[in-house]
Structures are given as C-alpha cells and as structure tokens.
C-alpha cells in the first residue's frame, strides 16, 4: 500500500472526484437535476411513442382512414403553428447563450419571445379546435386527433408555465448567472422536447 514514487496525475484526479462528491452529496446539485430532467423526458417520450404506435395501428387496421365522412384537415393554420413552434426552439436557445454570458436582459428578452410564440401556438391550436367539424367522439380518427394534439397541447402549456416561471424569477437580480441557471436549462430542454414531439405529430396527423 505504500510506495516510493508519487503519481500526481492520479492523486489530483482523486481530489477532484472527492470534492465533487462531497459537494454533491448534500441536497442541491444542479448538474444532476438537468440529467434528471433528461431521464424523465425519456419516460415522457415513451408515452408519446406508445400513443403514436397506437395511432399508426388504428390507422392500418381501419379499412378507410380517416373514416368516411371525416372532413379534410386544413393545413394552413397548423402549418403556420409548426413554423412558429420550430422557430421558438431556436429563439429559446438564444436565451441559453445569453445567460451563459451572464446577460440577464438577453435571457428575459428571448424567454419573453419564446413565451409569446408558445402562446400563439396554443391560441392557434384552440382556434383550430373550435373550427373543426368533428368532435372528440365523432370517430376513431377524431378521437386520436384530439387526444394526441390535446396531450401535446398540455405539454406546451406546461412548458409555457415553466418559461413564465423562469421569466418571473429572472426579474430578481442575480437569480440566474452564467454558472447557476438550472431553471433556464430545464425550461429549454423541455421546450425542445415538446417541439420534437410536435414535428412527429404534425407529420403523422396532417401529412401522412
């Protein structure tokens, strides 16, 4: 166990490790929280995956799809919505870049813009719901349409809340900094997830 020469590389590495563990073993450690969010999003993704597979199966076992008498879906509004949501992912990334430079104003600006875009998306979604000619129980297509978009809409709403929450907190001076901005990262990761799900959803429901 005792030796003659010192292995400085190893010891410094060890010190580093043990410091990290010492620090992180006590309650708050934001590194893990972002990882936790990502792991949790795997689970969220699996719910959507399950629902998508159910949709595809319903589609392929039904003799006609969408069932006869289903009015064709309007593409314009959801198309615009899609563009808005996809762009918002790039917008929110600017906020992340801003806070990494300690630019709280930039963070507020870009989060504000993202929140506005999210709100427009939700409003567009609601507008579409009210102007569709079929209801939740009209037929199998209608049901899957409402449940899939509705479940996604709930996620958008939750993401919007997160963003607004971060905005609110960013009003406090020095709440977020280039080194401590878990909330910002969490909201961003979640928003990207919601975005990716929408792209698949859009392709499946409107295009396919």
């Amino acid at each position: 166990m005792t030796g003659s020469t010192l292995d400085s590389a190893k010891t410094s590495l060890n010190y580093h490790h043990s410091d990290e563990v010492q620090a992180t073993a006590h309650a708050e450690h934001h590194d893990f929280r972002v990882l936790g969010i990502i792991v949790f999003l795997v689970a969220e993704g699996m719910i959507f995956l399950g629902l998508f597979m159910a949709y595809l199966t319903f589609r392929s076992v039904s003799p006609t799809w969408p069932p006869e008498g289903t009015p064709k879906l309007e593409l314009l509004l959801p198309g615009i919505n899609t563009v808005i949501l996809i762009s918002s992912s790039f917008v929110i990334h600017n906020a992340d870049t801003a806070i990494k430079k300690n630019d709280t104003k930039g963070l507020r600006l870009w989060f504000g813009v993202t929140a506005a875009m999210g709100a427009i998306f939700l409003a567009g979604q609601l507008y579409e719901y009210f102007h569709l000619e079929f209801g939740l129980t009209t037929n199998l297509f209608a049901s899957t349409f409402y449940v899939l978009t509705g479940f996604h809409g709930l996620h958008v709403l939750f993401g919007l809340m997160l963003i607004l929450g971060v905005l609110w907190r960013s009003l406090k001076p020095n709440h977020y900094s280039s080194t401590a901005h878990f909330g910002v990262e969490a909201a961003e990761v979640y928003w990207h997830f919601v975005d990716v799900v929408w792209v698949i959803l859009f392709l499946m429901l409107y295009i396919l």
Binding site: V21, H26, A27, A43, G50, M53, A54, L136, T137
Partner: protein, 587 residues
C-alpha cells in the same frame, strides 16, 4: 470475523456515525432521508401485502368447492382483480424497488442520500393515497375485469370501479417512474470515487436495469390507460369495437408494460439474492460480470417479449414466432444467474440461517417457474394452457416463489442494518418451513389443473377438479398462517430483539461499514473500498498497513483512494479500479 471483513471494516472505521436519534414521528411525515423513505415503503407495502393476502385467501375460500357459494360472482371477480393489482403495484414493485432500493442503493454506493431526496419523498407519498383509493373501490363496486382490464369487458362492467382502478394504477405508475429517474441518476452519478460500475454491488446493477425498464415501459401503460379512460368516460372508441376501435391495440400497449413489469418485480430480487448468497456462503459471488451483465440482457430482452401473452389473441404468425424465440432466449441470462448462485453456494461455508434458507428456497422455487416459463413461451403449448391454472401456477412460482421469497430473504438479511436489532432465527426457520410447504401445496397442483382443463378467473369449476382445488386451498391457508411467525418475529425483535452489531454477517458491501442503523447522512466520512464487494476469503492476501485508510482532514496521508503515499496500488485490494487485478477489473 473473517479477514476480508476485518480488512474492509478497519478501512472504514471513520465512516461510522453516531447513533441516529430515534424520532418516530418522521416516519409519518414528509421526510427526505432515503432510509426513512425506505422504511416507509417497506412498512406501507407490507401492509398492502397483508391486504392482498386476505383477498387471496378469500379467493381460495371460494374455490374450495366447485360451486360459487362463498361470495357472489361479481365480488369474486373483484377479489382476484384487486388481489393482483395490490400484489403487483402495491407490494412487489414498490417493496423491491422503492423499499429495499431506497434503503440500500445510497448506502451501497457510499452516497449520503438519493440524487433527488424531495422527489423521492413525493414518489413515496403517492403510494398510500393510491392504495387507499384502490381499496375504496370496494364501496362503489370494485373493478372486476382482471388486473389486465381488457376492453371491451372493462368498458361495460362497473364504470366507477374501473375508473378508480385506472386512476390508482396511473398514480402508482407515476410514482414508479419518478423513483426510476432517481435511481438511474443516483447510481450513475453518485458512487464513491473508486467504485466503477464493475465494483458496484450486484443489487445496484439490478436496480439500474430495473429502473431503466420502469422508465421506458411504464409510460406506455399510462398511454393505454389514458386512452381507456377516454373510452370509459367520454365515450370515445379507441378500444371499443362497436365504434371502430381495436381491443388488440390495448393488449399490445398493456403488455408492453406488464411483461417488463415482471422483470421490474424479479430483477431487484435477483440482485438481493446475489448479495445474500455470497455473504452467507462466505464465498465471492461466482461470475460477477456474468451476473451483472445478464441483468442488462434481461432488461433489453424483456422489452421485446410482450406479445407472448397474446399468442391466442390477434397476433400474426411471424410475431408469434419472433416473440416465442425472444421469450425463450430470456431463459439463458436467467439460467446464468441461477447457475452462478449455485456455484457460489457450492463449496462455501453455508451459514444456514433464515436469509440463506429463503434465498435457497427462492432458487429452488424460481427454477420451477423458469421451467414452466420456457414451456409457455412455446407457442403450441401456450395455445393449450393460455389463461388456465397452469399460468396461475407459473406466475405464482415466479412472483411468490421468486419475488416474495427473495423479499423475505432480504428482510431477514437487512433487518439488523435497518433496525439495529437481530431477528430471531428459530421463528425465521419456522416461517420458512411453513411458507415453503404451504406455497408448494397451494400452487404445485395448479399445474395439473390447468393442463387438464381448468381455466382461470372462474368462480365455479367442474367438480372433477374438486380434490386438487381443496388441496390448493389448504395450502393457501397454510401460506396465510405462515405470515404470522414473521409478523410476530419482526414486531418482537424490533422492540426487544438482541442488538445487532454494525456488521453481523461479516459482509463487505458498504452498507455494513456504518452504524446499525446508519446515521442521518449514512457515513461520517466517505467510505472507501478496501476490498471488492465480494472478496470473501481474500483477506489473507491483503498487505497489512499501518496508516489510516481514510482521513477526512488530510486524505493524501491516508491509504484510501486519495492517497499520495503510494505509487503502485496493491492489485488485490486497490481502490482504483484501474489498479485491480482479476474478476472485478474492467478498465
């Protein structure tokens, strides 16, 4: 005390904390201490186990005679539905993952708590309301369409009960997902330095695989239940054929979770058995890597076998063949584990006390469930025995003979650590004998019943099956009675039992390197790995040292992992994985 254990303990003397103050109120509140949460899980789930046991006893009482004469048919259906739901979602899953997982994982990896303590507490506190909700369904007409809840039957039998069932299972699923997130992050990120993945105790490997399964599979069940509840409440037609829906889609989504659920229930127990067998045989675990990686293999394969529950339902032939082959292949990693445990026992110095007895009981019963499992994986045979008592027998051999015997072994093994008191071994042996005999009496005859033509989930049956059914019922009563010695033993020992030392079994894993019960943050100083988790019999090869193993003030001067005193580590016991030789070396 053996040399390896002495060596490991000596290295960790500083890790010992002061006795925790005993404040019983914290066990009823929102505590974020993983040990408190672990005990909360264990006690809560055991209470639900007793409830599920009462339901099972009622079911067997009805089946003592061929006629439907004890309860009404509707109530009978509710009894077995709630029995299965309770046993799966409120006992085995939360007890094995939430209970022992929470208590042991941080201790075993040398962490002070889980990665997200508050999330952990939330995950636990979802369980009691969900369980009480499920029980309350008996007031409005409990769900009676089986724990599988296949539509369209589940859509046309009692709506209120069915909705309560869905809500309750959704809540329990959420709890399970949150716990899984916590375990994955904890195990991946919070191991003490020097503990690579291949120095982790096997229970941690098992928990990692289990958590991954829970994380990936549970959401799909949630998806299915969301759709089912829309059908139930709003009147959509996802699974209702009258409106163009397809019930087979529900079956796919349900089993995509519910088959992996079997592995969620058995993998942690595999992990516990690996620990217990090695400690009580006083031998290193045979084939550490094989056991560890076979957990991962089971986890991966477990996700692609679900349709073997649907061989008689609407699955195309290619799918039946594919799922038959994957289901059979799962027997290989499972076999590796069983043979490795046998090889661990072989030539050991067996301490034949309750933990090892239950662990050996586990192996002997689980192997029967495994054999009948391979049989039912075979499509032609499954077409004959699907939905019969053969399946009932098979699943109980896996989940009771397997999971529950394993959980009992774990209770006997870790009770001294959790409470600081020893359990009485004589009562433990009585408990073992009664359970083993009662279990086999209750479930062995069911194989024959099923093959001969008794289908499951029936309140009345052909009188030609009466004799064997009576035998099953007697066995079930014996099994019910067998719980009493355990309850008495636990209650009495917790209050008046012989105090346990820190490491009564002479084990090497880190949970034994602190006080029994451990202090609030588990270890005063970070524990160190002086030996691997299973290096029994290797103490004699260790070099004696005259420096302290760890010293929180000047770690560089200690012999632990941060040591600056050495250039080349002893290959036998080195803390850094890269310096180690032999079985546990992977880097």
């Amino acid at each position: 005390m053996t040399q390896a254990a002495q060596y490991q303990e000596k290295a960790n003397l500083l890790a010992h904390g002061s006795e925790p103050e005993n404040n019983w109120r914290q066990y009823f509140g929102f505590s974020t201490d993983h040990k408190v949460i672990g005990i909360q899980y264990l006690v809560t789930t055991f209470i639900f186990y007793l409830v599920g046991g009462v339901l099972a006893t009622l079911v067997r009482t009805e089946l003592a005679t061929p006629e439907s004469d004890f309860v009404s048919r509707e109530v009978y259906n509710s009894l077995f539905t709630v029995h299965a739901t309770v046993m799966i979602f409120l006992w085995i899953v939360p007890a094995a993952t939430g209970g022992f997982g929470n208590y042991l994982v941080p201790l075993m990896i040398g962490a002070r708590d889980m990665a997200f303590p508050r999330l952990n507490a939330i995950a636990f506190w979802i369980i009691p309301p969900a369980g009480i909700l499920l029980m309350s369904s008996f007031l409005v007409g409990a769900p009676g369409s089986g724990w599988t809840s296949y539509p369209p039957l589940s859509l046309i039998s009692g709506k209120a009960g069915e909705m309560i069932w869905i809500l309750s299972v959704l809540m329990l699923g959420t709890s399970s997902i949150l716990a899984a997130v916590n375990f994955i992050v904890t195990i991946v990120k919070m191991r003490i330095p020097g503990m690579g993945f291949n120095q982790m105790p096997l229970f941690c490997w098992a928990m990692l695989a289990t958590s991954f399964l829970a994380l990936v599979a549970t959401p799909v069940l949630a998806g299915a239940l969301i759709l089912l509840s829309f059908d139930l409440i709003v009147g959509t037609n996802f699974f209702n054929p009258t409106g163009g829906g397809d019930p087979v889609v529900y079956q796919h989504m349900f089993w995509f979770y519910s088959h992996p659920a079997v592995y969620i229930m058995i993998l942690p127990v595999f992990g516990m058995i690996s620990e217990i067998v090695s400690v009580h045989s006083r031998k290193p675990i045979f084939g550490y890597k094989a056991i560890a990686y076979s957990s991962i293999a089971i986890c991966g394969l477990g996700l692609i076998v679900w349709a073997h529950h649907m061989f008689t339902s609407g699955t195309p032939p290619w799918l039946r063949m594919f799922f038959m082959i994957t289901s059979m292949i799962i027997a290989v990693p499972t076999g590796i584990k069983v043979f490795s445990w046998l090889a661990t026992i072989w030539g050991g110095k067996l301490r034949l006390e309750s933990p090892l007895l239950f662990a050996m009981g586990f192996i002997s019963l689980f192997v029967i469930g495994g054999i009948s499992g391979v049989m039912v994986a075979s499509v032609p045979w499954d077409i004959h025995v699907h939905d019969t008592y053969f399946i009932v027998a098979h699943l109980h051999y896996v989940l009771f003979g397997g999971s529950v015997f394993g959980l009992y072994a774990a209770f006997y093994h870790w009770f001294p650590k959790i409470t600081g008191k020893m359990l009485n071994d004589t009562w433990g042996k009585l408990h073992f004998a009664l359970s083993y005999v009662g279990f086999n009496l209750a479930f062995m005859p069911m194989h024959k019943l099923g093959i001969e033509g008794m289908n499951r989930r029936i309140a009345e049956y052909d009188p030609k099956f009466a004799a064997l059914n009576l035998l099953c019922t007697i066995g079930a009563y014996l099994l019910a009675v067998s719980t009493l010695p355990f309850l008495v033993n636990v209650c009495w020992s917790w209050a008046y039992g012989k105090p346990a030392s820190d490491n009564p079994w002479g084990a090497l894993t880190l949970e034994w390197m602190t006080t029994s019960p451990p202090p609030v943050e588990n270890f005063e100083a970070d524990p160190v790995l002086a030996t691997g988790p299973y290096d029994y019999g290797m103490g004699s090869r260790a070099t004696q040292v005259n420096v302290p193993f760890s010293d929180p003030h000047s770690p560089g001067l200690s012999a632990g992992p941060s040591s600056t005193l050495r250039a080349k580590a002893d290959p036998v016991v080195a803390a850094m994985p890269s310096d180690r030789q032999g079985e546990s070396n992977n880097r």
